[in-house]
């Protein structure tokens, strides 16, 4: 899944007709640094030139742990016209959307205003990214749907941005990241959940982000792989926080999607939550149901990077513990750990489950045709 670039016959896409799929995690990129400027007030142009982007991590450029690939993306995904991977709609169509018969593609822009320390700048960039998604992507290809990105640490600004996009069919979810200044169940984030529930959008919680906390509860590790693997532990504790703070009691219609964080850990986490809850429930009397029930009713999971046990039975048993109706296929295009649609599910899955996995669950959740 890394480094090698295979020569693929161009014709492969047109000669075989593939079943339509939903791809619930596509990452659109900007072709140039100033591509957002038309969507930003003038004051921010000067600000960005002078002070740059200051997130809850120390690097002015790039991530604190160097990725394994330039832009963490496939080396074969550079558009012929230049720019980073994922920055060209026409090349995304040619390389991914058309040959893989993507009927619904959910855009999850990263490197937005999320995780920035300056909340005014965060709000401005997020709003600009949302305008940019419409103009550059969703208005040009109706298969693509956007995610409303919000200044995650500023509840009022975030809620206002969500309400501004209410009813706009260019968007199918609100996007948060798993790592924030506080665990996601904390009340500072509740205005986001309130607004999302009000406008009827699910919330995608994508792995990654910066909140200033070490990516382990025992401090900062040394390597990129530890950050990569660690995202699934961040997602677990973020989900535990959401459940235990009572977010789903307070916002009973809220739906959330765990994006790019794995799903194999879900049964064990739910069992552990239930077991500990049976001992410690008096501390959290705002919970009216077992933790696993909130997870079962409110949480969906994207599949990439696909769980890959040696035995397919172990995979199937794990999915049965979660529910075939809760998985949303995703490729993570154009990132390096992209999942190839045709190779993700082993043989032995019923047609109905396969259809749910690849397309129907996503269509139902996102209400998009």
């Amino acid at each position: 899944m890394n480094v090698q670039i295979r020569e693929r016959p161009e014709a492969a896409s047109s000669t075989s007709i593939k079943t339509a799929i939903a791809d619930c995690d596509i990452h659109p990129a900007r072709a140039t640094k100033d591509e957002l400027f038309p969507y930003l007030e003038k004051r921010w142009h000067a600000h960005l030139e002078t002070f740059g982007i200051q997130a809850y991590q120390g690097m002015m450029e790039g991530p604190p742990y160097p990725k394994a690939q330039p832009n963490a993306s496939r080396r074969d995904a550079y558009p012929p016209e230049g720019g980073p991977q994922g920055s060209s709609l026409s090349f995304m169509q040619k390389q991914h959307l058309d040959p893989n018969n993507v009927a619904l593609g959910v855009l999850n822009p990263l490197a937005t205003g999320q995780g920035l320390r300056n909340q005014d700048l965060a709000g401005a960039i997020c709003s600009a990214i949302n305008d940019w998604q419409i103009e550059k992507w969703t208005s040009k290809d109706s298969r693509l749907k956007g995610s409303v990105v919000v200044a995650n640490e500023d509840g009022a600004s975030a809620a206002a941005e969500i309400r501004r996009r209410a009813g706009d069919k260019n968007f199918v979810q609100v996007l948060l990241l798993s790592r924030n200044v506080e665990p996601l169940g904390q009340r500072r984030y509740w205005p986001i959940y309130e607004a999302a529930q009000e406008v009827g959008l699910p919330i995608g919680v994508h792995a990654f982000g910066f909140g200033g906390n070490p990516i382990t509860a025992s401090g900062w590790p040394s390597h990129y792989i530890e950050e990569m693997v660690g995202h699934s532990q961040c997602q677990q504790t973020a989900l535990a926080s959401l459940v235990l703070e009572g977010v789903f009691e307070r916002f009973p219609k809220l739906k959330m999607v765990m994006v790019e964080a794995g799903f194999g850990w879900a049964p064990s986490l739910a069992w552990r939550l239930d077991k500990v809850f049976s001992r410690l429930h008096t501390e959290v009397p705002h919970l009216k149901r077992k933790p696993s029930e909130y997870i079962r009713d409110h949480i969906w999971w994207t599949t990439q990077p696909m769980e890959d046990p040696e035995s397919r039975d172990h995979l199937f048993q794990t999915i049965e513990w979660i529910g075939w109706d809760k998985l949303l296929f995703a490729t993570d295009y154009p990132h390096w750990d992209y999942d190839e649609p045709s190779r993700v599910l082993p043989a032995g899955v019923s047609d109905a489950n396969r259809q749910a996995f690849y397309l129907d669950n996503a269509k139902q959740l996102y209400g998009a045709s």
Partner: protein, 358 residues
């Protein structure tokens, strides 16, 4: 119900220090004076508030004093009850939380000496773990070497949440000493609270901290494996204590997948993560984070692809099970024998197999 068999090794018992003042007889004049004149309070960690339900089974809670503070109770409720030939004591007194390495050193020495006098000397089934002042590697190694002369110390104890990930090279002198002296490293649930207790920050509730122990163990396993601890110390065993284990298979699926993808970053990791776990990592039995259905549990054991990873533990006096169900339902007699006897003895070389039990 699955019945325990006689002669087992209970790998996770928690004798409680009644109060910081209980350690005064084991401190020198300077530290005795410090504790007294500064009015130092008892070192109770938020990981285990004394009256929290998780800290003691209701029927194991004594009329007075901390759960686990009475040897007679431990004998009756755990050692005799489950027919254990050995019980390994893992004191969870909050000495890791202090910030001064000198203070931590004084308190650890006192704690280890207290364990010998108050527990190990009084029941020959009991064995101990060496609690170390991780604030100073030099002092930690010295304490390991000091205590290891007493063969009743069978392991070194560290907390799962400390200042740095445990695979960091900084800690390797501890691992070298442990390997040389035939001591596994036990990594127990709990935090020094020098970092937020979850990797996404401070939560609101005790229940969150307890749930998050499992995620902390996952990140520590990643660190230990990818930093190359077991390439350098192939004979070192590490035991995850009160960690839960049902998270292990999906954790390894992911670690393995990423290791295949970016192994160029850590070229010293010369074996697949699953192989490293099989040869070097063990897990205590309790808590069993799974529904009480034999079928589900047996599937989980199948997902673990090994019957050598789990070591019997009651986690006394913590509340992990009720009644006599220290073993979950549905384990085969063969697996019970492995968990209770064979696996612990293969892990702790300082334990001698008692003839009467074989």
């Amino acid at each position: 119900m699955t019945s325990p068999i006689a002669g087992g090794v209970d790998c996770d018992l928690h004798p409680a220090v009644p109060h910081l003042t209980s350690l005064l007889p084991y401190m020198n004049d300077y530290w005795r004076d410090q504790v007294t004149t500064r009015g130092m309070t008892d070192l109770i960690s938020q990981s285990y508030p004394t009256n929290s339900p998780i800290s003691s089974r209701p029927d194991w809670r004594p009329a007075q004093g901390k759960p686990g503070s009475s040897l007679a109770d431990m004998q009756r409720q755990a050692l005799d009850k489950f027919g254990s030939a050995y019980g390994i004591c893992n004191p969870l007194y909050g000495v890791q939380m202090v910030f001064s390495e000198d203070m931590a050193d004084a308190f650890c020495r006192a704690l280890n000496d207290w364990l010998v006098k108050e527990w190990l000397d009084k029941d020959d089934r009991l064995r101990g773990s060496i609690v170390i002042p991780v604030q100073s590697i030099e002092k930690a190694v010295a304490e390991i070497e000091r205590c290891a002369q007493d063969k009743r110390f069978v392991q070194v104890l560290m907390l799962v949440m400390g200042d740095m990930p445990l695979g960091k090279r900084h800690y390797w002198p501890i691992y070298a000493a442990a390997e040389r002296l035939g001591l596994p490293i036990g990594i127990h649930a709990g935090s020094a609270y020098h970092n937020p207790p979850t990797s996404v920050g401070w939560g609101s509730y005790h229940i969150e901290d307890y749930v998050a122990q499992a995620q902390a163990f996952q990140t520590q396993l990643t660190s230990l494996i990818v930093e190359g601890v077991f390439a350098r110390h192939p004979n070192l065993k590490m035991v995850m204590l009160e960690s839960g284990f049902t998270w292990l298979p999906p954790f390894l699926w992911r670690l393995h997948k990423f290791w295949r993808g970016v192994r160029m970053e850590t070229p010293w990791v010369d074996r697949a993560p699953l192989e490293i776990v099989r040869s070097n990592i063990r897990f205590s039995l309790q808590p069993v984070d799974a529904p009480p259905e034999p079928d589900t549990l047996n599937r989980l054991f199948d997902h673990m692809q090994s019957d050598e990873l789990i070591l019997f533990s009651s986690d006394y006096p913590h509340w992990q099970f009720d009644g006599d169900e220290v073993l979950p339902q549905g384990l085969s007699p063969d697996l019970v024998r492995k968990i209770m006897i064979d696996n612990p003895h293969a892990t702790y070389p300082r334990l001698k197999v008692k003839e009467t039990t074989r």
